[in-house]
Amino acid sequence: MPDAAPSRASFPVGVVLAAFAAGTIAVFGGLTSYNLTRALNQQTKDPYDIRATAERMAPLLKRVPSNVTLGYISDVRIDTDAGKAVYFAAQYAVAPHLLVDAGASGAYEFALGNFSQGQDYAAVGKAAGLALVENFDHGVILYRKDRR
């Protein structure tokens, strides 16, 4: 065991002040950071609607077989920033199902329609070679590959 520490040690005032200043600045930084985080959190509550998307998709997930790959069609183009956000939010909500672009890949039986506004969902699906199975409202549609 090392020796016990010497009991009496004095420190130059400058060094003590430096330590005190470092600590005070850090506490001030912590307070500023807390206030900023708080303000930011109030402004940006779930900016990508992850929770809302999960709630919208929940009824559809009860209808599709577990763990199958799902096709994906949407009225928000996936190659835009908004489209990517909508697609990834849907992908996160339906995982562990894999979502693949219905137009690009054929390796699926069922497809998820994820729409931002009401339209003739059956016609949109038909144009993509999909038959409407069920409309779950809120723009969530279940399609199946049209075999005809």
Partner: protein
């Protein structure tokens, strides 16, 4: 059940650390305990996350809990047998800064503010920011689906979300979900909170052992109040877990230099560097730099111990990259012509350099900037002598080398440079930020070195 998953990971991590490291009989004793506890938290999450992925791959993931319990029993036996055989590391006691209690109080206040900020962020965005739910936690969901779906995490069809990224963090979260039987936000949130707390503990405990308690407290204060760093942890990005493994490896390299008779520290540093590579690709670059640092400054035989510690994770990383991960374009330009043309374009150097300076500036607010704290410490504590600074080269080289590696990676990116700088460079800086704080404070004389010893203690010192 999520808490059971975490406790089991910590227990495994604690026994692993006990097996890998000697006991610290340094003063104060709690510094050694804090370092061990913090390492145990991070190593436990890394070990169990890696084991889960290996078992998934082998088709045995449903037996994860049994494998962990067996590993726990084996490690417990090893610890029991090693307990009496291995000498502890000792370090002479120095003077104690009489105002440490105030620094500790301030650290407590900063810790509380960070915890409150984290709680608010978690309440508002439990799923984290973009990369958390679009990359790390998404892949955790695929892995948690078990044998039927885990390969979705590395599907080439996920090319918009980096299916080639390593899987330590996603593996750990998936493991917790698997044990808990539900995919709630608790596991990713807890991991996002524990990693920075453990990084803070490693900095505090490590610096208390390598330099002094007050320097450890100052380091922890700087880290906890770096807005960019705490913000990344609330975002649930993998950069913070990576930062833990990097700073853990650096502290252990520092210990290897301080206690050169022990190879244990190098093996543990290797394990931390290996886990860093299995967390994010940047960790592989760090491992190479640590290897070079060891060879240059600790002796040409020392890298073998580093490799020994890192081997399981590096093998996993290499096999994953070679055999499982889809071939996706790397961030760095691949074709030689494009790479060279980017290297010889002077405007890009300025663009990257200025972005990195801005990132450093934005680590804090002007009146409470970490650099301001460092400047005050430099003025009053002063740098150590050139001879003394030789002892920190093995820590400084990998830490500063990472900055150079980031610079080159950004300079030669295949993507639009402006976009890359806007979305990446501040995150990269935060990966090595705790390591930079460690290296920066190691260059200074400690507060305790300025002590004037009075009374019986001085007489005792003179009589020697």
């Amino acid at each position: 059940m999520t808490i059971v998953a975490f406790l089991l990971a910590f227990a495994l991590g604690a026994l692993f650390v006990r097996c890998a490291l000697p006991e610290f009989e340094t003063r104060p004793r709690w510094a050694g305990w804090l370092l061990e506890l913090s390492l145990a938290a991070g190593f436990g999450m890394g070990l169990t996350g890696s084991l889960y992925f290996v078992l998934l791959w082998a088709g045995l993931a449903r037996y994860e809990l049994w494998f962990e319990l067996v590993a726990l029993a084996i490690l417990a036996v090893i610890v029991y047998r090693l307990r009496l055989r291995r000498p502890a590391v000792e370090a002479p006691a120095g003077p104690t800064f009489s105002w440490n209690w105030l620094l500790l109080l301030m650290l407590g206040v900063c810790g509380l503010l960070y915890a409150l900020s984290f709680y608010e962020a978690a309440a508002n965005n439990p799923q984290g920011e973009w990369d958390a739910w679009a990359i790390w936690n998404l892949r955790a969901k695929f892995l948690a689906g078990g044998e039927a779906t885990w390969r979705n995490a590395i599907s080439p069809l996920l090319d918009r979300t980096h299916p080639e990224y390593p899987l330590l963090l996603s593996g750990f979260i998936a493991r917790c979900w698997g044990i808990a039987g539900e995919t709630t936000s608790t596991a990713p949130l807890a991991a996002a909170w524990i990693f920075p707390a453990a990084a803070c503990g490693v900095l505090l405990g490590g610096l208390a052992i390598l330099r002094s308690v007050s320097m450890g407290l100052v380091a922890a204060l700087i880290l906890l109040t770096t807005g960019s760093y705490t913000g990344q942890s609330m975002a649930q990005y993998a950069d913070v877990p990576l930062s833990f493994y990097l700073v853990a490896a650096l502290v252990l390299l520092g210990c290897a230099e301080r206690f050169p008779e022990r190879a244990d520290f190098l093996v543990a540093a290797g394990a931390a560097a290996g886990m860093a590579a299995w967390t994010k690709n940047e960790g592989a670059a760090f491992f190479v730099l640590a290897l070079v640092g060891c060879g240059l400054f600790l002796g040409w035989r020392t890298p073998q111990w580093l490799v020994a510690g890192a081997a399981p994770f590096l093998i996993l990383f290499a096999v994953f990259k070679a055999g499982l991960a889809p071939r996706v374009d790397t961030v760095i330009a691949r074709d030689g012509g494009s790479f060279v043309s980017k290297l010889v374009e002077p405007g890009r150097y300025w663009q990257v350099f200025s972005a990195m300076v801005v990132d450093i500036w934005e680590t804090g607010f002007p009146a409470s900037h970490p650099l301001l704290v460092f400047l005050i410490l430099v003025i009053f504590l002063r740098f150590r002598t050139r001879v003394e600074l030789r002892s920190i080269r093995v820590v400084a080289l990998p830490a500063l080398g990472m900055m150079v590696a980031y610079f080159v990676a950004l300079l030669t990116t295949r993507d639009d440079l402006r976009w890359q700088l806007d979305t990446t460079s501040s995150r990269l800086l935060m990966q090595i930020w705790p390591g930079l704080i460690l290296a920066g404070l190691l260059t200074l004389k400690s507060i305790e070195e300025h002590a004037t010893i009075a009374g019986p203690a001085r007489k005792k010192a003179r009589s020697k």
